[in-house]
C-alpha cells in the first residue's frame, strides 16, 4: 500500500506494520462493522452470495500464496478443498467437535498439498501445471472411490461454542471470521521472512537458491500452507451446503479460482478480494440474466443457465490476461495514484 506524503517508515517495526495510520485503522474498523451488520441489511439471496464469497476468499487466499506469491502453478486446488471438506465431514460424522474437525480438515489438506506439491521440486512452469492437474484427478479418484464421494456425506449443522449453526446468518458470521482470520494470517506470512522467500522463488528460483534460500523447503511450505487454506475453505463449504459431495469440487472450480487471482491481481492480498467478488459477481449476474436471455432465444433456453457463466467468465479472463495481466488490483493502484496526483498526468 502506498503511504501518504510525509509519512516515512523510520523503524523496521513500522515497515512491517499491517496498519500504518489512524486513517487505515478507521477504514478497517468501519469495514468490519459494515460486514458485521450486513445480514440485517440484505436479503437472503445476497447473504448466500456473501457466504460463498467468504468461503472463496479463504480458498483463493491459499491459492494466491501458492501461485501468486510463489509462482507455483496449482490446478489441483479444488481437489484439496474437497479433501478438506470430506475429511472434515467424516470426522464430524464420527463425532468430532467442530472446533477440532476444522483444523484437522485443514491439516489433512495441507499434508496432501505437501505430497502432491513434491513434483514442484522437480518440474516447473507448465509441467507443474500438468502435475497439479494430475494431482486433481488422483485426489478426486481417491475421494470418489475410496471415500464414497458421489453419494457423499450429510453434514448436520455443527455446534460451535454453544451456537448451533442452523441458520444462514450464523454461518455467515462463522465464514466472516474465518475470512478475516485467513486474510490476516496470509498478510502476516507475506510480510515476513517466508513471504519474501516465496517471492524470491517465484522470480528466479535458481538465483534464490544461490542466495541461500532453501527453495525445496519453501516450495513445500507454500503448498502446505496454501492447501491448509483450501482445506479449511472446503470444510466451510461442506458445512454450509450441509452435504459433502465430490461434484462440488470440480476441475472447473479450480480454473475459476485461478481466474480470480488473475483478474484480481496475482500476488496481492487485496487482489483476492477484488477477484473473488468480481468473478462471483459475474456468476451471480449470469444467473439473473439467464432467464432473460432464455426468453430472447428460446432455442438456447435449456442450456443457457449452464453455459452463460462459463462464456462470460472465460471471456473476461482472456480479456484481462491480454489487456491487464496484473489484474484489478493494479487498476486500482493506478486509479488511486491518479487521484493523488490530480490534476497532473503522472
Amino acid at each position: 500500500m502506498r503511504r501518504r506524503h510525509g509519512l516515512f517508515n523510520v523503524s523496521y517495526k513500522q515497515e512491517l506494520a499491517l496498519i500504518r495510520t489512524r486513517f487505515e485503522w478507521t477504514l478497517l474498523v468501519a469495514f468490519l462493522l459494515l460486514m458485521a451488520v450486513l445480514p440485517k441489511l440484505i436479503s437472503l439471496g445476497w447473504l448466500d452470495f456473501f457466504i460463498r464469497a467468504g468461503i472463496t476468499i479463504v480458498v483463493v487466499t491459499g491459492l494466491n500464496l501458492i501461485t501468486g506469491y510463489c509462482g507455483q502453478i496449482s490446478m489441483g486446488h479444488a481437489a484439496f478443498m474437497g479433501l478438506g471438506g470430506f475429511i472434515g465431514a467424516i470426522l464430524m460424522k464420527a463425532g468430532t467437535p467442530f472446533l477440532l474437525a476444522l483444523p484437522l480438515a485443514g491439516l489433512s489438506a495441507g499434508i496432501s498439498g505437501l505430497i502432491f506439491g513434491m513434483p514442484a521440486l522437480r518440474v516447473k512452469g507448465l509441467y507443474l501445471a500438468f502435475t497439479t492437474l494430475a494431482a486433481h484427478y488422483i485426489i478426486m479418484f481417491i475421494l470418489v472411490r475410496l471415500l464414497g464421494g458421489t453419494v457423499g456425506y450429510e453434514v448436520a449443522p455443527p455446534t460451535v461454542l454453544g451456537f448451533k449453526l442452523n441458520s444462514e446468518m450464523r454461518i455467515y458470521y462463522l465464514v466472516l471470521i474465518m475470512a478475516f482470520l485467513s486474510t490476516c494470517f496470509a498478510k502476516n506470512i507475506v510480510r515476513g521472512k517466508a513471504g519474501r522467500a516465496f517471492v524470491a522463488v517465484r522470480d528466479h528460483d535458481i538465483a534464490a537458491n544461490t542466495l541461500g534460500i532453501n527453495i525445496y523447503y519453501y516450495k513445500l511450505l507454500v503448498f502446505f500452507v496454501g492447501c491448509v487454506f483450501a482445506g479449511v475453505g472446503g470444510f466451510l463449504q461442506v458445512v454450509y451446503f450441509g452435504w459433502a459431495s465430490a461434484d462440488t469440487f470440480t476441475l472447473w472450480s479450480a480454473i475459476w479460482y485461478i481466474g480470480m487471482i488473475i483478474v484480481g491481481g496475482m500476488g496481492t492480498i487485496v487482489g483476492v478480494f477484488f477477484g473473488s467478488f468480481f468473478i462471483l459477481g459475474i456468476d451471480h449476474f449470469c444467473s439473473i440474466v439467464s432467464p432473460m436471455v432464455a426468453n430472447a432465444f428460446p432455442v438456447l433456453s435449456g442450456t443457457v443457465l449452464g453455459a452463460l457463466p462459463l462464456l462470460v467468465f472465460s471471456l473476461v479472463l482472456m480479456l484481462f490476461i491480454v489487456f491487464e495481466p496484473r489484474g484489478l488490483a493494479h487498476r486500482w493502484e493506478i486509479i488511486r495514484e491518479s487521484f493523488r496526483v490530480f490534476p497532473f498526468n503522472y
Partner: protein, 295 residues
C-alpha cells in the same frame, strides 16, 4: 488369451489417437513455446461438429469429417491471429492461462449449443471386424482409427521431415528469431501449426467419441493426450508416437483386469498417475530435451 489380445489391440488403437492429438499439441509447443490448454476442448469440439453434421444435418460421414476439418481450421486461424499474436513474449503463465480461458470459452459454447447430456452416434460401422489369424478380431472402428491415425501421423511426419514447409517449421521450432532473420514467414508457420494441431485434435476427438458417445466431460481425451505429450517429451514427435499406444494399452489392461477389483475408474486415473511418476524422474519427459538454465 483372446481377451488379452483384444485389450492390446484396442489399447493400441486408442493410443494412436492420443498420439495423433498429442502431435498437434507438441507441434504448437515446439514452434511457439505455447502450451495449448485449449486443445482438449477443441478436440471435443471436433466431435460435436461431426455429430452435428452427421446426426443433426444427416450428412454422410466423410463429408462430416471434411466439414469438421474446415471449420476447425478456420477457428484455429482466428485464434492464432486474434489471441496469440499479441501475446508473443509474455510470460508463460499468462499464455497458459489464456489458453485455459480459451478452453473454457469453447466449453461454454459447446454447452450452449449442444447441452449437457450424452449424445450417441448411430452405428457408423458394420458389426464385427477383421479377423487376424485365429487369435483375435480387430473391430471395424478400430481398423478405421488405426488407418486414419497412421495416415495422419505418417503424412505429418513426412511433411515435417522432408518438405520445405516442414523445414521451415523445424527451423522456427529451433530458433524463432534466427528463422525470422532468414526470411522465413514465421507468422505463417505458426498459423499452420495451429491449424494442423487443431484439426488433428478435432479428428481425434471425433474418432474416439464415435465409439463412446459424446459428453462434455470427454475433454478427458484431450487431457490424456496432453499427458502423452508430456510423458513422451514435448520436443520429440517420435517419443509421442511410442508413448501413446503404451498409455492406451495400459488403460485397457487396467480397465480389463484391475478395475473390476477396485470398483472401476482406475483406468481414467492411470494416465495421470503415470504422468506424475515419469515427470518426477525425468522432468522433461522420456524423450524431451532438457533446457539448460543459466542464472
Amino acid at each position: 488369451m483372446n481377451e488379452l489380445i483384444n485389450y492390446l489391440i484396442t489399447g493400441v488403437a486408442n493410443g494412436f489417437i492420443y498420439s495423433m492429438i498429442a502431435i498437434g499439441f507438441i507441434l504448437i509447443f515446439k514452434c511457439s513455446k505455447i502450451f495449448n490448454f485449449a486443445q482438449p476442448e477443441i478436440t471435443i469440439l471436433g466431435a460435436y461438429i461431426i455429430y452435428a453434421a452427421t446426426v443433426q444435418f444427416k450428412l454422410p460421414f466423410m463429408l462430416g469429417i471434411g466439414i469438421t476439418i474446415g471449420l476447425i481450421a478456420i477457428l484455429a486461424l482466428i485464434i492464432e491471429r486474434v489471441l496469440l499474436r499479441p501475446m508473443i513474449g509474455q510470460p508463460i503463465l499468462s499464455i497458459i492461462l489464456l489458453t485455459l480461458g480459451l478452453g473454457s470459452f469453447v466449453r461454454g459454447a459447446i454447452i450452449l449449443i449442444w447441452g449437457t447430456e450424452w449424445l450417441r452416434f448411430p452405428p457408423l460401422f458394420p458389426e464385427g471386424g477383421v479377423a487376424i489369424g485365429r487369435i483375435a478380431t480387430l473391430s471395424y472402428p478400430h481398423v478405421f482409427f488405426l488407418s486414419m491415425c497412421s495416415l495422419f501421423i505418417l503424412s505429418l511426419g513426412a511433411y515435417y521431415r522432408f518438405s520445405r514447409g516442414g523445414l521451415a517449421m523445424r527451423a522456427t521450432a529451433d530458433d524463432i528469431i534466427v528463422a525470422k532473420v532468414l526470411g522465413i514467414k514465421v507468422t505463417r508457420v505458426l498459423a499452420l501449426t495451429w491449424v494442423i494441431a487443431s484439426t488433428v485434435g478435432g479428428i481425434g476427438g471425433a474418432l474416439l467419441t464415435s465409439v463412446t458417445g459424446i459428453h462434455y466431460t470427454a475433454v478427458e481425451i484431450g487431457f490424456k493426450s496432453m499427458a502423452v505429450g508430456l510423458v513422451g517429451g514435448l520436443e520429440s514427435l517420435a517419443g509421442v508416437i511410442v508413448v501413446g499406444p503404451l498409455l492406451g494399452i495400459a488403460e485397457t489392461l487396467i480397465a480389463g483386469y484391475i478395475d473390476p477389483l477396485v470398483g472401476g475408474g482406475l483406468s481414467e486415473v492411470a494416465a495421470y498417475f503415470v504422468l506424475m511418476v515419469v515427470l518426477i524422474f525425468r522432468p522433461h519427459g522420456i524423450f524431451g530435451w532438457e533446457t539448460i538454465e543459466r542464472v
